[in-house]
Subunit: 618 residues, 2 copies
């Protein structure tokens, strides 16, 4: 007999029946409550902290909990076994929010950008809806229903080959007759074949929508698109709840290798997308049934997980994905709920660690067609770099680690309300700004970059990242020095530790040395770069000058840098909207060459040179 | 509260719990016991007779039960309500047998034929299995799994376009690696695209099987085919249990229009096919998983029902099918269980009442490529006629009614054990032969034709079908004269009635006049026909001379007639085996013209002239 007890989760006051003997982290996940866990429940990262209010439990001893925390009844959720009814409180900094992070109206943020793209990538949507007034049959015209439909379509589409599936064949006879031979047909061009994906009575051709998705390791962004006009109606962004199973893609792959792990990771991401689709449709007053296509742009691991394909071989030498160019699939293949006959397309990806998200970036930035040398850098949990022009394109991927996403650092948080994102230190005083202007709960990626620059500017740390002199704000905690940024009334502190600084230097060094390695391999120099495109999460919040100062970005004139925002999402949108974009995406990945940093003789040298502020590469 | 009682069905001794108040016929069908019912349970045909042994029931008065039967406790199953526990006995002549009717070894019956066909239709199977030894990836060869697979296939297949579905993509990474990059790929050519339908570890290319199905209104025939050698391994034939819902296609369509009717008819036929597939696989020691393709040849109504597509508009003017040429479908679309990735193909059909079964007949008989004028006649519940040569092909369909299938006539039975199939009357004595040589239970189609000829030869009936003179064997029963063929010890009789004779004359007249109408419409005469091909159920059991004598067949030299057996099944087999056959099948239906007899001014005149023995057309 399995014995059940009650886990009461504050601040939600959610009472969950859980099996006695299970751990808190898995119990939370089972109830769809997601908290951060970089290592995915292995007790290594020390991120899944919870406060225990009362009840019966046993918690394994761990070095990840300080004495102070212990006194405060804080324990690791993954290492704590529930032995009886238990009441816990989640810490604000660990909760992965249920609610939407941001939303944009009709391409709001990138308005300027979108106008350019319409010129570069002419409008030719992936799914077209065609209204047909078919002649009704009589004894002199006894064409079958399907052949009649094709004859009607041929007036609009000059193709010879058509295909239809059983579900549409089954609907056809009744729809034709109840609609008096006036129907709307949704079609998609699959190479030389026209696939008939949906048939509706009457004229519904005005209602033709698509969904573009950027599946990131940390965030998921979804746009609802009017496929007739080419307009992005609304965009919503939320966190990828897979983060409960580890911050980086390797932890996700390791989790996927466990029993039911792949199924679970797949389910979480597809349900997150489904929630955003429902939300967007409501807000834009669009029926989900009128959405017939989805495009996905993301790194290879995220695409594998979404499609429920074993990602294991992406982390094993020689790192092979299941496919670079995917066939047109069905929305149900990814568990995505739009019109049941809807299709699913994947932006093709060049390499296991340079996926469709980067193909999107290349096409959106346009570096593949410029005369001058440009660079495209997408900084997320991984950093991908593409260098090239109209003649060549070379890429690489650097593992920056999750600290720019606010993970793996003591008080790191994602870019949520309360995150410190701007910092100035002046005359020993520290000034900061949080997202939403409220009480600070931690520091996000761009906050850390500013903090590092300010600590260095004010000579609080040296170029090795060591604290130089005594300072009121520098204290020692369990043998590690830390710099106090903020102290709450209850004496809880927000700090940056010596370990955090080392971590951040390694992260910025990984990106910088990846760029310099690609350039050296190609026999190029930083000064040859005429345009430097930055895409990804922190995008426009990033302070260019401070980034140069700490040695994240190379020392180029500020005007050469350009923020592109989420180019992966923009790519997914364009994939639905432009045939030229779709065709080019397949061409680009054939043209793209790859430098494997882990096997590059130059990289280790460059990396070691970059582990200073800014670096030794003047 | 629903009250349940027990229905005990003899001779099976099957005890079924049934809802009190339901009728016997539906209760039997629900328990998968199928008895004949020409009208599908409307109380019109009087075919679903059962003997009630004991219990509680109420049976509606009906003219379909004779006084004698009433005394014998025989009632109509569809008109009898179960009021309490009930014990019934099914009559041998009404049971649609569970067991297989016939089976053939390796093309046994048509051996000669098959050899010819291999010359006419070169071997090029629809599904090919290709064994690939792929190079394993390394850092210098990092092609993705799918692209590696395609590269391997291109050595064997000179095509540019490939397609794969999610189920095979999901399997791919593990299969490649556990099989050390040695895999077998099943492919099908869909126009210009190669569809990858299955991937298996190791070399399974020797095991490549297909299933060919003739779905007839009355019988279903299935062949298991070795797709590598082009051999038909075994054929099995059974009854179409849909017959419980009516003998002819119109009754089936009417039933399909009822709530759940289509679902039920679909289920019955697909399960019947599945049973035969299981049986054939066991007997031939073939794994069902190694069967990857199914081809279907049948009339349009049967194809609609199998695919669960509303057949309603096939019986409503202007009689339109859902499609003439079907796309390649999945086996699951028809509920057929072979390899889950298996495909389903349908032999294209030219007209609503001249379907894929007749396309098969045209191609198997070869009339489309002969210099001389030939005729092809397929006699089943409907009779289809095709006249033509290499320059033209014209067809029509005549409703012969079910009496040649042993239905709609008093003692008619299907060609099962105990059916009288040969008859001689000499010096007032009657001699007959039954199938299986056992006790006679009724008369089958070819038996009725012989009987009619013998009655006419012996001047027992005149050319109008009236009994001419007194005869010991002629008795009157409830005002209708009947001729006694056999009397059992219990005084039960097997007879042919005046009504039966009229019925048979109408049936043979329908076929004969259809042929003469087509010829007259084309300005041709019987003597122009150099070859007369006969296909369909009674095929080789038919006595040509007697058929000419009664006016079913025209008076041509006997050597011009040729029996082809079940050309619909042979066509389904060839559809799997030969690309030429597949391509020609689409060409043939475009070439085929149709004469609608119901709208032909000639037909009614010809029909009236044919309602004599033999006819008035000397």
């Amino acid at each position: 007999m399995k014995e059940y007890v009650i886990l009461n989760v504050k601040p939600f006051n959610k009472k969950i029946p859980v099996r006695k003997g299970s751990d808190i982290l898995s119990s939370l996940i089972k109830s769809n409550i997601f908290i951060t866990s970089s290592c995915g429940g292995k007790g290594i990262c020390g991120r899944c902290k919870v406060k225990i209010l009362k009840g019966y439990f046993y918690s394994e001893p761990t070095g990840k909990i300080t004495e102070e925390e212990k006194n405060n009844n804080i324990f690791l959720a993954c290492r704590t076994t529930i032995l009886g009814n238990l009441e816990i409180e989640l810490l604000p900094s660990t909760i992965i929010p249920e609610k939407i992070l941001k939303e944009f109206e009709k391409g709001e943020e990138f308005e300027h950008f979108k106008i350019d793209l319409k010129k570069v990538y002419p409008f030719s949507p992936l799914v077209k809806k065609i209204f047909l007034r078919l002649p009704s049959p009589n004894f002199d015209d006894t064409l079958s229903d399907y052949e009649r439909l094709i004859k009607g379509l041929k007036k609009y589409i000059r193709k010879e080959r058509f295909n239809i599936d059983i579900s549409n064949l089954r609907k056809l006879p009744n729809i034709l007759r109840t609609s008096f031979w006036e129907i709307t047909v949704s079609i998609v061009e699959n190479k030389e074949t026209i696939e008939i994906i949906n048939i509706e009575p009457g004229d519904t051709s005005k209602r033709n929508y698509g969904i573009a998705v950027d599946v990131g390791t940390t965030t998921i962004s979804v746009s609802l698109i009017d496929m007739n006009k080419g307009d992005i109606l609304k965009t919503e962004i939320t966190f990828n709840k897979q983060a409960s199973f580890g911050d980086d893609i390797i932890s996700r792959i390791v989790y996927a290798e466990k029993k039911d792990g792949l199924e679970k990771l797949h389910h979480i991401v597809s349900e997150t997308i489904n929630e955003l689709i429902v939300d967007l449709s409501k807000k834009c007053d669009v029926s989900i049934n009128d959405i017939t296509s989805v495009s996905i742009s993301g790194n290879m691991t995220m695409v594998h997980l979404l499609l429920k394909i074993n990602p294991s071989f992406l982390r094993k030498e020689p790192y092979i994905p299941v496919a670079n160019i995917f066939p047109i699939l069905k929305c149900s293949d990814a568990g995505i709920r739009i019109n049941p006959n809807g299709i699913l397309t994947i932006v093709p990806g060049g390499y296991p660690y340079v996926g469709g998200d980067i193909t999107s970036g290349i096409l959106v930035s346009g570096i593949y067609k410029e005369d001058e040398l440009s660079i495209f850098v997408d900084v997320g949990t991984n950093g991908e770099i593409v260098v090239g022009n109209k003649d060549f394109l070379t890429c690489c991927a650097a593992s920056a680690g999750p600290c720019f996403e606010g993970s793996g650092v003591k008080n790191g948080v994602r870019a949520i309300n309360g995150a410190i994102q701007k910092v100035i230190i002046k005359d020993g005083e520290i000034f900061f700004e949080t997202i939403g202007r409220g009480e600070p709960i931690g520091i996000c990626g761009s906050g850390y970059i500013e903090l590092l620059a300010e600590l260095y500017r004010n000579k609080i740390i040296d170029r090795n990242g060591n604290f130089i002199k005594e300072n009121d704000r520098i204290v020692e905690n369990e043998g590690i020095k830390e710099f106090i940024i903020y102290e709450r009334e209850n004496q809880e502190r927000i700090v940056i530790t010596k370990a955090d600084i080392e971590n951040l230097i390694r992260a910025k060094g990984a990106i910088y040395s990846a760029i310099s390695t690609v350039l050296k391999t190609l026999g190029l120099e930083f000064k040859d770069i005429k345009k430097f495109y930055i895409a990804g999460g922190f995008g426009k919040h990033l302070d260019i000058e401070k980034s140069i100062e700490i040695g994240l970005l190379p020392n180029l004139p500020v005007e050469r840098f350009k923020f592109l925002g989420n180019t992966s999402l923009t790519g997914a949108e364009q994939y639905l909207l432009s045939e030229k974009f779709r065709n080019l995406s397949e061409e680009i990945i054939k043209k793209l060459t790859y430098i494997d940093l882990s096997r590059s003789p130059i990289y280790m040298e460059e990396y070691l040179k970059s582990l200073f502020i800014p670096h030794t590469d003047f």
